[in-house]
Symmetry: C2
Subunit: 177 residues, 2 copies
């Protein structure tokens, strides 16, 4: 698996069931949402702004894409910090056939632009590590069939071994009828 | 990672947060439980019975262990099919440094003895495939720190591509005080 194949397989509309586990408090949070993943042209002007803000010197872009999400449940409608919907642009920069960097216009653990390192395991599992100011996020995504993918995350304190929370999403492709 | 190291790292008492996702019905099931993993001596008489029943010719046993679990929540107390507690013995048979077979006295998806194939990915993730009469279970276990491990499963129909359900557990080692 390389990043181009992985993005191609991910393009589409997905229904997501996501469970968050807060380990210290042993609390569960279950959320249904819709996720829409679309290709972005490599000459899209939004990419330039993201790359410039990152300060990185970029040699090669491969398969940039946009992710939009919309939660359907389990969010408080009047919550001023409502994160039930949003979108971000993700730009991969391969450094080898199976690894490289990703730039995200909005991070996963903190709402700031984020730079991640990605790596494919030998069975095609996509792994992603993102260093934020206060935390490190480790994510992995793997396809269990053409139309079902799993996504897990673990959020650790930057200082070291403390695990703050984990999550798991089962994502099923919406088949057009 | 090999099976001996993996079992050694798994021995202990764990508190588990587990979320089951029923994909067809988009239903969540969250369960808290305690899991106790202990070593079993290779000359334990129970192993012989399990191996004999399997009909397999066994060359080498490595690190057999017992798993006991006790759910604390989310089960109906009077359910005659109550599976809120139980135990099984698991016997690994390495075929190479990173792969082999497992025999379980009780299977995960169906309550019958089960034979599984295991394989370690290049980052140490333990993957397990079990063929039952009606279904195929794919499990993976990976450590995100010495004392936190994640466990996911996907249950498919034997016939092929249908995914019945997935699950994810976050397991935290109980530190003795």
């Amino acid at each position: 698996m390389n990043i181009e194949q992985f993005v191609a397989q991910s393009i589409g509309e997905w229904r997501s069931m996501r469970s968050g586990h807060s380990l210290a408090f042993q609390q569960f949070e279950d959320v249904l949402s819709e996720i829409n993943i679309t290709s972005v042209q490599t000459d899209d002007q939004r990419l330039e702004a993201i790359i410039e803000a990152s300060g990185l010197t970029i040699k090669e872009i491969d398969s940039p894409f946009q992710m939009e999400w919309n939660a359907e449940s389990d969010w408080e409608p009047d919550d001023p910090n409502d994160v039930s919907s949003g979108s971000c642009i993700i730009i991969p920069f391969p450094e080898s056939e199976t690894s490289g960097k990703l730039l995200r216009s909005v991070g996963y653990a903190e709402s700031v632009p984020a730079e991640s390192h990605y790596n494919f395991l030998d069975d095609g599992t996509f792994t992603l590590t993102t260093q934020y100011d206060q935390s490190i996020a480790e994510e992995r995504i793997w396809f269990i069939s053409e139309n079902v993918r799993c996504r897990s995350s673990a959020l650790k304190t930057s200082a070291g071994s403390g695990i703050l929370q984990t999550s798991f999403a089962s994502e099923v492709r919406k088949i057009k009828v």
